[in-house]
């Protein structure tokens, strides 16, 4: 799927769950001090790219970590922090029964599911949760409806899809993309570029 508009892709900043190394799934987890700094750094990168008070759409995942990151980004852009849309199709991948666990705990409690998912993330869902293919389907649906330039704030796996699907990266490679925090990617004309920060 190729995009007619420019898409900016940001992941939320570092959270308590990131520091604890636990799958957050749909649970709330606040930004850390570093996470808030990363959000402001992403706002400054977008300010250098777009200038103050830019007129494009802003859409965030409904989870608190993405919403808080979006508000900090918009403040840097001299915009009303709360003036953005939320879209459930940008939610984090559903970690299902893995939610709240560390990778080591998942390996101990769900050894077969861990091995099968790791060997085929696109097709095998996390127990009680989503596969990467499930996530790709809802992100495809979001991308298909984009009708203007847009800034998105989402999550690690979601941001991999937002960068990989529009430029046709193959499924295995998409799940291997970095899940960078503190950095904004621009997707335009089939090219993904990391903004200077």
């Amino acid at each position: 799927m190729s995009l007619r508009f420019t898409l900016y892709v940001a992941r939320h900043g570092q959270t308590d769950a990131n520091v604890a190394n636990r799958y957050p799934g749909r649970r709330e987890t606040p930004l850390t001090t570093l996470g808030r700094e990363q959000a402001r750094a992403m706002g400054r990168a977008l300010l250098a790219e777009l200038g103050p008070r830019p007129t494009l759409k802003f859409v965030a995942s409904p989870l608190g970590r993405a919403q808080a990151t979006m508000r900090l980004i918009r403040a840097e852009l001299e915009l009303q922090p709360d003036g953005f849309a939320s879209d459930a199709r940008l939610l984090d991948i559903d970690h299902g029964d893995w939610t709240g666990l560390t990778p080591q705990e998942v390996r101990a409690r769900f050894p077969e599911n861990f091995a099968e998912h790791t060997g085929g993330r696109w097709d095998v869902p996390m127990s009680g949760g989503e596969s990467y293919g499930d996530l790709a389907a809802r992100v495809e649906s979001f991308l298909a409806e984009i009708d203007s330039n847009v800034v998105t704030v989402s999550h690690g796996a979601t941001s991999q899809m937002l960068r990989g699907l529009p430029v046709g990266i193959d499924p295995v490679r998409i799940t291997q993309l970095p899940e960078t925090q503190g950095v904004v990617f621009r997707v335009r004309d089939n090219v993904v570029t990391q903004l200077d920060s």
Partner: protein, 193 residues
Amino acid sequence: MPDFRSHTLYLVRHGECEHNAAGWAAGHDDSPLTAKGREQARANGRVLAEIADVTALEFHASSLHRTCTTMELLREAAGLPPNGYRADGRLMEGNLGDHARVPVQDFLRHEGYAADPWNYVRPNGESHAMIFARVSRFLDSLARDAVIVTHMLPAQMIRAHYLGLSPEQGMGYHMPNAGLLRLSMGSEAAFGR
């Protein structure tokens, strides 16, 4: 298809060595740990045993003296036999060639390096691009979660590559001698003192 980002990496820089204490770039020199450096290595072993299941990890150290000593002290403090690790030349510090034994600030100010820090090849030594190529081959060889004891430049490169940062952003990161950085699920968290 190797995928090093699916593993949890515990990235450790060697403890303070005699060159560090004197403000010199060590490169491939044989620079032993100071007493402070040995204690830093043990402290990291204790932290690692708290935050990870050390029996489920691979252990890799740069084959230089200071990183092997750091690894052995770290493993002992984590309750493991000191020698159960692999030494790997691909994790060595950058080869400074003719610029070895130069104070750190002079070595960073060298005009060829300042003009193009990524591609400048030090006489009889390496460029950052050459270091990154070997470090990257090492990462692709990982089969499991791993502890990696290495040096400033490879540590900066592994962190940046894992997180998807540009080389310039990566080189701006200072990994302290006592540094222990966990890279997991696309995110970083610093431990150690």
